[in-house]
C-alpha cells in the first residue's frame, strides 16, 4: 500500500537541498544543518510510514497478557505496574518501557485513541526521538574530539544516513534508546576528560544509570570511562583526590539507578545480572567453526543476497554489514536499490578499514585519535565476544552495536580530514544517496 509520507519526505528533502544550494550555502555549518535535517526527515518519515508490527523484533501480541515488548508497555499503561514475571521480554530493563508508556499514554490521550495498537504504535516516538538525539550527540562528540569542519561533515553523513539508526528509530525496542545513552555517556566522559568538571561526571553518571536501566549492555562502555579516569588519575597528580571524588559520585548515582531492576529480578526470580534470553535452537550457529564465523569474510554470502538470513547466516562481519544496512529484514524495493546500497556499504567498510590502518600509522602525530580508535576496537571485540558466547543468528544484528557507528564515523571523518581523498567524499555521498533512495522506496513500495 502506497501512502503520502515518502513523497512528503522526498519533497522536504528536495526543498532543504534547494534552500541549501541557493540560500544558505555560504553560511558556516549550513551543510551540517542540511545533513542533520535530512537525517531527521529520514528517521521521522520512516517511523511514520512503518507500522509497529512491521520490521519489529520480539514485539509479541498486542495484548497486555503477552510476553513481548508490546505487553510490557501495555501492562504499564493499563495497570501502572511493572511485569509480575520475568518471562520472555519481561526480563528486560524497564526504562524504555516506562518512557514509552508515558509518551504513548499522553499522545493517545491527545489524539483520542485507546486501543492496544495505538498505544504500542506510539511507543516508536521514543525510539525515533532517541535516534535523533544520537545525531546531535554524535555532532558534539566529533567537536569534542577536535574534528575539523570537513571531517565533521563526512562523519555526520555517516551517522545521519546509517540505515540501522533509521530502522531502530522506527521500532518498538530499547535499541535506539540504549544507543542514545551510550553516545551521551561517551560525550560526557570526553567532556569530563577534557575539562575535569563535576557536572560532566554527573551527566555521565545519570546516562550510565538510565542507560543500564534501558539495557545492561550500556555498561559495555564502562571500561572506556574507567580507562580515561585512570589515565587522568595517573597523569594529573594534583587532581587525584578530586578524581576519586568524581569517581565515587559516578558510582553513587549510576549504580542504584542502573541496577535496581536487576536486583529486583534477582531477588524475585533469581535472574542473573548478565542474563540474556535464549533465542532458540533454530538460529543456533555454534556448530560452524569459529574461524568461519568470526575471522573470515564470506564473499559467497554477500553475493547471494543483500539481506540477512537469520536462520542460515553465521559469518559475523558480513552479517554486521547487512544488518547495518537493512536490519534483519527483506524488502520489496527493486533489487538494484538494495544491491547498490550494499555496494555503498562495502565501499564504506573498505574505507573504514583503510582509515583505521592510516590512523594507527599516524597515531603518534595525532594522539586524540586514540580514544575513538580504542573505543571502536574495544566495542567491536565486545560484540564479537557476545556472538562467541551467544552463537545465535540474531546475536550478530547491528542494532546491538549501533553505538559503534559513532567512533567509526569519527575514524572516517578524521581520515578524510588528513588525506582529503575525493574517493572518500564521493563514496560517502553515494552511501547517503543510496540510503535515502532505499528508505524512500521502502515507504513507497510495500
Amino acid at each position: 500500500m502506497m501512502d503520502i509520507i515518502p513523497f512528503l519526505m522526498a519533497f522536504a528533502i528536495m526543498i532543504m537541498a534547494v534552500c541549501y544550494a541557493c540560500f544558505i550555502k555560504k553560511y558556516d555549518n549550513s551543510l551540517i544543518i542540511l545533513i542533520v535535517g535530512i537525517g531527521i526527515i529520514l528517521r521521522v518519515g520512516y517511523m511514520m510510514y512503518t507500522d509497529c508490527i512491521v520490521r519489529s523484533h520480539d514485539l509479541g501480541e498486542l495484548d497486555e497478557n503477552g510476553y513481548g515488548h508490546a505487553s510490557y508497555i501495555l501492562g504499564l499503561i493499563k495497570y501502572g505496574k511493572l511485569p509480575a514475571d520475568n518471562m520472555i521480554q519481561h526480563y528486560q530493563q524497564p526504562f524504555f518501557y516506562i518512557s514509552s508508556s508515558v509518551v504513548s499514554f499522553v499522545v493517545n490521550k491527545v489524539i483520542g485513541h485507546s486501543d492496544n495498537y495505538s498505544y504500542v504504535n506510539a511507543a516508536k516516538i521514543v525510539s525515533c526521538f532517541a535516534s535523533i538525539v544520537t545525531l546531535f550527540a554524535a555532532l558534539n562528540i566529533f567537536k569534542e574530539l577536535k574534528l575539523q569542519k570537513k571531517g565533521v561533515t563526512i562523519a555526520m553523513l555517516f551517522v545521519a544516513f546509517m540505515p540501522a539508526f533509521i530502522i531502530s528509530g522506527g521500532t518498538v525496542s530499547p535499541d535506539a534508546l540504549s544507543a542514545m545513552f551510550m553516545a551521551l555517556i561517551f560525550l560526557y566522559t570526553l567532556r569530563w576528560f577534557n575539562t575535569g568538571k563535576i557536572k560532566y561526571m554527573i551527566g555521565t553518571a545519570f546516562c550510565y544509570g538510565f542507560g543500564v536501566m534501558t539495557k545492561i549492555s550500556c555498561a559495555a562502555l564502562a571500561p572506556i570511562t574507567i580507562g580515561l579516569i585512570i589515565y587522568k588519575f595517573i597523569r594529573e597528580k594534583e587532581l587525584r583526590i578530586k578524581i576519586v571524588m568524581h569517581s565515587l559520585t559516578l558510582g553513587v548515582i549510576s549504580l542504584p539507578i542502573g541496577l535496581w531492576y536487576s536486583v529486583r529480578n534477582f531477588i524475585k526470580f533469581g535472574q542473573k545480572f548478565s542474563y540474556v534470553l535464549n533465542p532458540g535452537e533454530a538460529i543456533y550457529m555454534g556448530d560452524t567453526s569459529l574461524f568461519s564465523r568470526i575471522f573470515m569474510i564470506n564473499i559467497h554470502n554477500i553475493v547471494k543476497s543483500p539481506y540477512c538470513a537469520p536462520f542460515d547466516d553465521y559469518n559475523a562481519p558480513v552479517y554486521y554489514l547487512k544488518s547495518a544496512l537493512f536490519g534483519e529484514f527483506s524488502y520489496q524495493v527493486p533489487n538494484i536499490i538494495a544491491v547498490l546500497l550494499l555496494i555503498a556499504g562495502i565501499v564504506m567498510s573498505v574505507i573504514l578499514v583503510t582509515a583505521i590502518i592510516n590512523l594507527i600509522r599516524n597515531i603518534k602525530k595525532d594522539r586524540v585519535t586514540i580514544i575513538p580508535l580504542v573505543t571502536f576496537v574495544f566495542y567491536y571485540l565486545v560484540s564479537l565476544v557476545f556472538y562467541i558466547k551467544m552463537p545465535y543468528g540474531c546475536s550478530m544484528d547491528y542494532r546491538y552495536m549501533l553505538f559503534l557507528t559513532i567512533p567509526a564515523a569519527y575514524i572516517i571523518g578524521k581520515y578524510y580530514e588528513n588525506t582529503k581523498k575525493t574517493t572518500v567524499k564521493v563514496s560517502m555521498i553515494f552511501f547517503a544517496a543510496m540510503t535515502t533512495v532505499m528508505y524512500l522506496a521502502t515507504g513507497i513500495i510495500r
Binding site: M1, C22, F23, Q332, N335, A338
Partner: protein, 724 residues
C-alpha cells in the same frame, strides 16, 4: 562437416577481431603524437582480454560490450590527444580497469551466477548481485572516462548566459506569420491523415432491454439449421451473465451457461455449432441491454429468425454487422472502459471506470455528444487533442532552439511519430494527459524565458497561471500528470533560487518575489485543486454527496487500486523495456476474408525512441559539460516523466512512456539543431527518415489491412514486436 563450419566460424571471428584491433591501433597511431603515450595506449588494446573473450565466445552481446569499451577508450584518447601527462594515462588505466572488471562481471554472471536481467528492477528473491555490481562498475567507469575526457579538453570560453546550471534559456524568438501558416498546415495534414478511417458512425443503436420480467429470448429459425455462432452487440453494460441454449431433439441443450459478455459496444462472439431450429438466451442477472444479435450459419451467412417482430430492436440493424469486425466498427483495447464511462457520464448511469479522474472521460464525452455513441464519436476528441499537441511541440521546438528549423523538425517528428498517431485515434486518456503535460512544461519554459529577459511581470504571471491550469487539467485527467508537475516544480525552484540566491537580490526584489510565490500558490495549488474537485461533478450527480467528498473518496480508491494492481498481460512491459521500444501493444486485430491483417499496435517510432537515447546522452553532456541550460530543462523534463515509473510496480504498458516520447522529440530536435549549426541537411535527413518510417508503418498504426508477408518481413524488425 559441422566441425569444419565451426572452425571456419571461429577463424572468421578471430579475423574480424584482428581487423578491428589493427584499425584501433592505426587510429591511435594517427591521433596520438606523444610516443610513450602512444605505446601505452596500444598496449591496452593489444592486451584487452574482454575483446579476445568476447570475439572467441561469439556472443553478440559480449562483442557489442567489447566495442563499447574500446569505443569509450578511443573517445577518451581522442579527447585528450593534446594532454599526454602522466595523469591522463593513469586515468585511462583506472577507467579501463573498471570497464574490463564490469564486463568480466557480466560474463561471470552469465556463466556462473545466472543472475537474470529482469530481476534487476523487481524484488524477486534471486538477487542478481554480481550483475548489478558489474553494470554499476561498468557505468561508473564509463562516466569517469567521459568526465575525464571533457574536463581536460574544455578550452572554449563559456557563454556568459550559460554560466551556471540554472534553467534555461534561448533568447525569445517571435512567432511570425510563416510559423502560424506552417503550424496550421501541419495540424491540417495530421488531422486528415490521422483521421483517415477513424471509426464508423453507424453501429447498432436501438436497445433491447432484458430484466427480471423479461428474462428470455427464444429465436425461431423456421426450420432446423446449422448455426455456427451468435454475435451479440452489447450496450454499455458488461459482465452480466447470460445463458445460451439450443433446442435439440425437443429439449433445451445449454451450451453456454452464465456466460459473461465482457465488451460493451463490441461484437461479442458465442460459439454454437449446433443443428437447431430454436435458440434461447436467458438473462441470469437482474438486467442486460443488447443492441443487436446476429445469428451466423456454418456457411458464414447471416440467418434471420422468423420471429424477429417479437424482438424488433435486436434485429432492426442487421445490415450494420460488418464483414470484418475490426476496430472501425467497435471498441478496441481500453475503449471498453473509457468510452463506456464517458457514455455513463452523459446518461447519468452508475460509473464503471473510476480508477482515473473523470475529466479525460468528460472530454471524450464531448465527441459522443456531438457525433453520437459510435467509434467516430468517442475517438474524435482524441484526434483533436493529438492535433493540438502539434502547435505546442512546434512552438516548444521553435522557442528552445531559437530557430524555425527547430520548430519544423519537432513538428514533423511529432506528426509522424507512431505512438502519437495511435493514441490520437483511440478513446483513452493518454493523449489528453500528454497534451497537458507538454503544455505545462511549455508554459513553464515561457515563464522562465520571460523572467530572464525581464519582460513585464503580467506576462510572467500569465505563463505561471497557464502552466498551473494545464497542471490542474492534466491531473484531473490522469494522475501521471503529477510527474510532470514534479518536474516543473524542480525546474521552477532551481531557477527561482538561482535568481534570488543572495540576500541582496532577495531584498531588492522582495515585492516581486512575494507576488510570484503567491501566484504559484494560486496557480499550482488552488487552481489545480479546484479543477480536480470540480471535475467530479458527474460523480456527485450520480452518487450524491458533495464534490469534495466524491473527489476524496474516489482518490483513495484510485490510490489503493494503482498500488496493488498487478496482473498478467501479454503486452505489459517494464519501464526499461520502453527505453528501447522492446514491447509492442496490440490494440486491435482482425483478419479479412482475403487473409489480410488489420491490426492497430502501439509502439514508438524507432527513430524517436532509439535516436532519442543518443539525443538524451548528447543533451545531458551539453547540460553537464557545456552548462547548457536549455539542455538541462529538457533532461529534467524527460527524467521527471520517466523516473517515477521506476518505483511503480503495478502492471504497466508502453503507452505510459508517451510523455517521454514527446520529450524525446524535443531532445532530438534540439540535438540536431545544435549539431548541424546553420546547415539544414542533417535536420532534413532526420525529417525524411521519420516520414518514410511513418509511411511504412502507417497501416499498422491505423488498422489498414495489409498482407501478412508485409508485416512479417518488413514491419516486425524487432523480434518482440507482435502485430499479428
Amino acid at each position: 562437416m559441422m566441425m569444419e563450419d565451426k572452425n571456419i566460424f571461429t577463424a572468421g571471428r578471430i579475423l574480424a577481431e584482428t581487423g578491428i584491433l589493427v584499425a584501433v591501433l592505426f587510429f591511435i597511431d594517427i591521433i596520438v603524437e606523444n610516443k610513450p603515450a602512444k605505446r601505452l595506449y596500444k598496449m591496452f588494446f593489444i592486451l584487452d582480454p574482454v575483446t579476445v573473450v568476447s570475439f572467441l565466445s561469439g556472443n553478440l552481446y559480449l562483442i557489442i560490450g567489447s566495442v563499447i569499451v574500446n569505443g569509450f577508450m578511443l573517445f577518451n584518447i581522442f579527447s585528450n590527444r593534446k594532454n599526454y601527462g602522466k595523469k591522463n594515462c593513469l586515468t585511462l588505466i583506472y577507467s579501463f580497469a573498471g570497464m574490463v572488471t564490469g564486463a568480466y562481471g557480466v560474463i561471470v554472471n552469465k556463466f556462473c551466477f545466472f543472475g537474470k536481467f529482469e530481476n534487476v528492477f523487481n524484488s524477486s528473491k534471486d538477487v542478481p548481485t554480481i550483475l548489478i555490481s558489474s553494470i554499476f562498475i561498468f557505468i561508473i567507469s564509463c562516466v569517469y572516462c567521459i568526465y575525464h575526457a571533457f574536463s581536460k579538453t574544455e578550452t572554449a570560453p563559456v557563454d556568459e548566459n550559460c554560466n551556471n546550471h540554472s534553467i534555461p534559456v534561448t533568447k525569445d524568438r517571435k512567432i511570425e506569420i510563416k510559423d502560424i501558416v506552417i503550424i496550421i498546415a501541419m495540424m491540417a495534414a495530421f488531422f486528415i491523415i490521422g483521421g483517415f478511417r477513424l471509426g464508423s458512425k453507424d453501429i447498432p443503436s436501438t436497445v433491447y432491454k432484458m430484466d427480471s420480467n423479461n428474462r428470455e429470448i427464444v429465436l425461431d429459425l423456421g426450420e432446423n439449421k446449422n448455426v455456427k455462432e451468435i454475435m451479440v452487440f452489447l450496450n454499455y453494460k458488461s459482465n452480466q451473465r447470460l445463458s445460451f441454449s439450443a433446442d435439440v431433439s425437443g429439449s433445451w441443450d445449454i451450451y453456454e451457461s452464465k456466460t459473461q459478455l465482457k465488451s460493451p459496444f463490441q461484437w461479442n462472439k458465442i460459439t454454437v455449432n449446433k443443428n437447431t431450429r430454436y435458440l434461447g438466451i436467458v438473462c441470469m442477472d437482474s438486467w442486460e441491454w443488447i443492441n443487436e444479435i446476429v445469428v451466423i450459419g456454418d456457411d458464414g451467412q447471416v440467418i434471420t429468425p422468423v420471429n424477429t417482430s417479437a424482438y424488433k430492436e435486436l434485429f432492426d440493424e442487421q445490415e450494420l454487422y460488418p464483414d470484418v469486425r475490426s476496430y472501425y466498427y467497435q471498441t478496441m483495447f481500453d475503449e471498453v472502459y473509457h468510452a463506456r464511462t464517458s457514455y455513463e457520464f452523459i446518461e447519468g448511469y452508475p460509473i464503471y471506470e473510476n480508477t482515473h479522474p473523470p475529466l479525460g472521460k468528460l472530454m471524450i464525452g464531448v465527441g459522443i455528444r456531438a457525433f453520437g455513441m459510435n467509434p467516430f464519436g468517442w475517438r474524435i476528441m482524441s484526434l483533436i487533442a493529438g492535433t493540438l499537441c502539434i502547435p505546442f511541440i512546434y512552438l516548444f521546438g521553435l522557442k528552445i532552439t531559437g530557430r524555425r528549423l527547430g520548430g519544423v523538425l519537432a513538428g514533423v517528428l511529432i506528426s509522424t511519430e507512431f505512438m502519437h498517431c495511435v493514441l490520437s485515434r483511440i478513446a483513452t486518456l493518454d493523449i489528453f494527459v500528454a497534451l497537458f503535460i507538454i503544455m505545462l512544461f511549455y508554459f513553464m519554459y515561457r515563464y522562465i524565458q520571460c523572467s530572464e529577459e525581464n519582460k513585464n511581470c503580467a506576462k510572467q504571471y500569465i505563463f505561471i497561471l497557464l502552466s498551473g491550469i494545464s497542471t490542474g487539467i492534466g491531473i484531473a485527467t490522469k494522475w501521471t500528470a503529477f510527474y510532470g508537475a514534479a518536474g516543473i516544480c524542480v525546474i521552477f525552484f532551481i531557477t527561482f533560487f538561482r535568481r534570488y540566491n543572495s540576500k541582496k537580490a532577495f531584498q531588492d526584489n522582495k515585492g516581486s518575489v512575494i507576488k510570484i510565490i503567491l501566484c504559484c500558490v494560486v496557480s499550482f495549488i488552488l487552481i489545480p485543486a479546484t479543477i480536480y474537485v470540480v471535475s467530479y461533478y458527474p460523480f456527485m450527480k450520480v452518487y450524491g454527496g458533495s464534490l469534495i467528498e466524491n473527489a476524496i473518496n474516489n482518490s483513495k480508491l484510485m490510490l489503493s487500486y494503482h498500488s496493488v494492481t498487478v496482473f498478467e498481460h501479454p503486452y505489459s512491459s517494464e519501464w526499461y523495456q520502453w527505453i528501447w521500444d522492446k514491447q509492442s501493444l496490440l490494440d486491435a486485430l482482425a483478419i479479412t476474408a482475403e487473409g489480410k491483417v488489420s491490426s492497430v499496435a502501439t509502439i514508438g517510432s524507432p527513430l524517436i525512441v532509439w535516436g532519442g537515447i543518443a539525443a538524451f546522452i548528447y543533451t545531458g553532456y551539453l547540460w553537464v559539460c557545456k552548462k547548457d541550460r536549455n539542455a538541462g530543462f529538457l533532461v529534467i523534463m524527460y527524467l521527471a516523466n520517466l523516473l517515477p515509473w521506476l518505483l511503480v510496480h503495478r502492471t504497466v504498458f508502453i503507452y505510459h512512456y508517451y510523455p517521454c516520447i514527446l520529450t524525446l522529440i524535443l531532445l532530438i530536435a534540439y540535438s540536431v539543431i545544435k549539431l548541424s549549426g546553420s546547415k539544414k541537411r542533417f535536420a532534413v535527413t532526420v525529417m525524411v527518415i521519420s516520414v518514410v518510417l511513418f509511411i511504412m508503418y502507417y497501416p499498422e498504426l491505423t488498422g489498414l489491412a495489409v498482407s501478412r508477408r508485409y508485416i512479417d518481413n518488413v514491419l516486425e524488425i524487432v523480434k518482440s514486436w507482435r502485430f499479428v
